[in-house]
């Protein structure tokens, strides 16, 4: 696929194009890492896109209009994100509500609160924020990565470690595999499930922070539909939606697949709006069929 892109479009195969995949999808990547845990545990979190938007607006509002130092504001935003996720987790576990519905209401809530804070978009010109936003970390050969991309890579690494080598991570897999069994094995099922949503909320808030750096603005309509992209990335990355099976590294691959599709589309420069959509669908189909083929072979 990538090869085809290289043949078809000039400049497609330059290393920076690939690094840009990371730069432009850093926030998606971070959200998807949190989402991976939720899906592994057999749940789903639809609120992430809205939490990203809320985080950008709150951060922008605090920094631009209330004069907070960005770092303090970032700490608050991250804490709020985790708290919001934990709250949804408690509702889901304590009152046995369906995750889909709770997080859908959470999505309305977060976007609604974002709109309440500020209807229009807020530009950020705080020197700290701008300097971080423009910071480019050289990775050799004249190519660079943004801070957000580095955070995303760290998030993937941390997520992979968390999933593979900690008690919490393994409990998440166990819950997704067979919740009753996990309980009978004496695993802290409820606590872990709540932590999963808290983690997802935290990741969304972190993605919101990265997004704020990326856009240098806070806006209640940012990251619309991001939840679906994140879920798609996770599932394309090989995680089973019913839980219990999948890898964080796969999620990174899923994000990159979506990114490549987007890049292919934007490199084309011929497609009309509707053909763009059809092409995205077709590329998704091709990737999924390839994945299916690969799986069957294994």
């Amino acid at each position: 696929m990538v090869g085809a892109g290289g043949i078809l479009y000039d400049g497609f195969l330059s290393p920076q194009v690939f690094l840009n995949l990371l730069v432009d999808n850093a926030f998606l990547c971070i959200v998807a890492v949190g989402m991976t845990f939720v899906i592994l545990s057999g749940g789903i979190d639809l609120s992430v896109g809205a939490v990203v938007a809320f985080s950008t607006v709150l951060l922008a509002q605090l920094v631009q209009r209330h004069g907070w130092h960005p770092l303090v504001a970032i700490a608050l935003v991250l804490a709020l994100g985790a708290g919001f996720g934990a709250l949804m987790g408690v509702l889901i576990r304590r009152f046995r509500l369906q995750p889909f519905v709770v997080t859908l209401a959470g999505m309305f809530m977060a976007r609604g609160l974002a709109t309440l804070i500020s209807v229009d978009s807020i530009d950020i010109d705080h020197p700290f924020m701008t300097s971080v936003a423009y910071l480019r970390i050289p990775v050799g050969g004249g190519n660079t990565l943004s801070v957000g991309a580095v955070i995303a890579l760290l998030a993937v690494a941390a997520g992979a470690l968390l999933a593979a080598t900690t008690r919490f991570g393994r409990t998440v897999y166990a819950i997704g595999g067979n919740e009753t069994a996990a309980r009978l094995m004496g695993l802290p099922v409820d606590a872990a499930a709540i932590k999963v949503y808290a983690l997802s909320g935290f990741c969304a808030a972190l993605a919101g922070v990265v997004y704020t750096f990326y856009m240098l603005s806070g806006y209640s309509q940012h990251a619309a539909g991001l939840e679906l992209d994140a879920i798609a990335a996770v599932v394309i990355g090989g995680t089973l939606l019913s839980g219990g099976s999948g890898y964080v590294a796969g999620t990174l691959a899923g994000v990159l697949v979506l990114g490549v599709i987007q890049t292919l589309i934007s490199f084309d420069g011929e497609l009309s709006s509707w053909w763009t959509r059809i092409a995205i669908g077709a590329l998704l189909l091709v990737f999924c069929l390839l994945q299916q083929l690969f799986w069957r072979k294994r």
Partner: protein
């Protein structure tokens, strides 16, 4: 060869969320696919992220000029700096952006949403001359948080709030669509028990939906309730011709040729005005019959 003489333009469109946008896309494409240009078109599916990616890819492909209709006003600083660093001039279309440094873009061509709101209000004042108050106004807003919704509301209120005869009794978002416009208007009519004098809709589509709701409630749109909206799409002219819509403020999407000129000038390094406002008028019901055949969208 000839390929080299051409100006390569990367144009990033918001999406295809409305007829207005489709007309706009068609106009721009027609103008920039003409000889002398080499158009790279990209559709952002209403997402700013996608648009930023598109701009990045234009930069990576080293186009000569970038033109785009921003999805939102803010958040362009970074990518515009990259464009500037790559010495690619940027032309904004349709909407302006907020950036700290004006030199990040060469020029802006498009409409002034606030002014459109003002025009709608001015028409209403004019049409209400001599009519006694109080007049109960309802407003169908566009998508919450979108620039046209915010600005059109601002402009409209600026003028209307100064006249004590008018009272905006209800204001709700109709998401710029016919179906939502109709649904919200239905609820308005019932909640106000039909006592509504004026409807201001942020776009024609919502007005067209609302007209149906008014008819279904047994009232006469255009007479019992006066209606003014913005955009000037063909459907609005049909409604005006039928006497169901009183006025529409034009928001002209057909600035493709003008854009092509600007792009050529910018590429040639000629000085261009920082802001080019597209010619737009206000059309009322009496002009509709004559104007309708001329409408292109």
């Amino acid at each position: 060869d000839r390929q080299a003489d051409r100006i390569t333009v990367g144009f990033s469109q918001v999406g295809a969320e409305s007829e207005w946008r489709t007309a706009n896309t068609a106009s721009v494409r027609a103008a920039l696919e003409a000889p002398g240009f080499n158009l790279k078109f990209s559709d952002a599916q209403q997402k700013q992220e996608n648009q930023i990616k598109a701009l990045r890819s234009f930069i990576a492909q080293r186009v000569d000029v970038i033109a785009f209709s921003p999805v939102v006003e803010s958040g362009w600083e970074t990518v515009l700096r990259e464009a500037k660093a790559a010495r690619i001039p940027v032309v904004l279309t349709d909407r302006a952006v907020k950036v700290s440094d004006d030199s990040l873009y060469a020029t802006f061509i498009g409409s002034d949403f606030v002014e459109e709101g003002r025009k709608a209000a001015r028409w209403l004042l004019q049409d209400s001359e001599g009519k006694p108050g109080p007049m109960r106004v309802v407003e169908l807003q566009g998508t919450v948080g979108s620039a046209p919704a915010i600005d059109r509301m601002k402009g409209f209120h600026e003028i209307i709030d100064a006249d004590p005869r008018f009272r905006i009794v209800r204001s709700q978002s109709g998401d710029f669509t016919r179906a939502k416009g109709k649904e919200v208007m239905e609820a308005f009519l019932k909640a106000e028990d039909g006592k509504i004098d004026v409807l201001f809709a942020h776009n024609d589509d919502m007005a067209i939906g609302a007209i149906q709701a008014i008819e279904e409630a047994g009232l006469k749109p255009g007479q019992d309730i006066r209606i003014v909206s913005i955009d000037g799409v063909r459907g609005a002219f049909e409604a005006m011709k039928a006497g169901k819509l009183n006025a529409t403020v034009e928001c002209n999407p057909l600035f493709g040729p003008r854009l092509a000129e600007l792009v050529r000038d910018v590429h040639a390094g000629k000085p261009v005005p920082k802001r080019v406002v597209v010619e737009e008028g206000v059309f009322v019901a009496s002009q509709a019959a004559a104007e309708l055949p001329k409408r292109k969208y």
